[in-house]
Symmetry: C2
DNA sequence: TTTGTTTCGGGACGATCGTTCCGGTAGTTT
DNA sequence: AAACTACCGGAACGATCGTCCCGAAACAAA
């Protein structure tokens, strides 16, 4: 007979697995990938040290799972963001500038974590599909009659974010606005 | 009396210091910042472990010194690059596309190391001036009648580089050429 | 209940880490 | 020559690391 109800043990296991991934992401946001160890993750999640080795075959596996999960979240976030902006009939530039300011302000830690994914993906080929996913989501959702202009737009966003991360204080949406405007202006 | 000749001991010390920095950079290019330890650096440089702690008060100091040195090299490199291109009467776009392809191909490790500096600078404020230096060099050297267009150009370069790092194989100068062209086109 | 499976968690092992100590050496100054 | 300074490098300390072992507990199937 086919089992429809999920195993209670496996359900708990999956839940803890997810908690460990969430704890790892919090640590990366706070201290970077360098701060991730079995013990710090376990402490952050409030579980014993061995829990990480049980649910993830190695520390590297934990990192990979965390960054893949992070990338997936980011992709769905981008999806809803576009959907929301579209239904609102947003002008685009204003929306984008606001999101950039948010990514460099309140969500700064998360943004740093995401770019650590980028760099980790540069060294670990298995992470590259995950790292590319949010680019793919954008590419598939946004109408781009001009392929080159769209690539320039994506590169510009990345550049503004990574340059904004080393500013002493995060730029405001108003400061970013003219740059985004120029970036979106057709030529 | 004023001492003009440098102390032979200090000269040797400075030389070894530079060798340690160079060894650290090689390790970052190969294994990333995560691979940098007192012992790996010492082994790479062919000196005893204690040498790193003598010349640098801590491992963090070694990292900071390395990344500042790396950033300074990059800045002077950019300086000469612009100078060379200018004297040759280069068209710009072709030059830039070639340099991007080189950064993502033969010099890929170095490029990754440079972006690890960026991310480290995002977390360590003392590194930010060094991380911004190559941007400053470009800003001071290149004539930019349009401030916004120049910022977009710089952001686009960064974005193309960091996105090129997660490609499965590095893009060629020919592939990058139209994007750079669009990036430089006035509007 | 009995048997089997999955998760849990305390404890520990060996490796590696950053750092310190300290005697030895080379170079400079008096 | 002697005194002083700066660099060198072997050895080791305590801390922390990733990972493994193994019995207990929770749960499912028989």
């Amino acid at each position: 007979m086919v089992k429809l109800q999920t195993d209670g043990r496996k359900a708990r296991g999956e839940k803890r697995r997810a908690e460990l991934i969430a704890a790892t992401l919090r640590i990366i946001e706070r201290d970077g990938v360098a701060g991730v160890t079995h013990r710090t993750v376990a402490a952050e999640a409030g579980v014993p040290t061995t829990s990480t080795t049980y649910h993830f075959s190695s520390l590297d596996d934990l990192l990979v799972a965390t960054l893949i999960s992070c990338a997936r979240d980011m992709a769905t976030e981008v999806y809803w963001m576009i959907d929301r902006a579209r239904s609102r009939g947003s002008r685009g530039a204003e929306e984008v500038a606001g999101l950039l300011a948010e990514a460099l302000g309140p969500r700064r830690g998360r943004t740093m974590a995401e770019y650590e994914l980028y760099l980790l993906a540069a060294r670990k080929p298995e992470l590259r599909p995950a790292a590319r996913r949010w680019l793919d989501v954008l590419t598939s959702m946004v109408r781009h009659d001009d392929e080159v202009a769209f690539r320039v737009f994506l590169a510009g966003i990345d550049g503004l974010l990574i340059q904004g991360l080393i500013d002493d204080e995060p730029p405001s949406a108003e400061e970013l606005r003219p740059v985004v405007d120029y970036l979106l202006k057709p030529r």
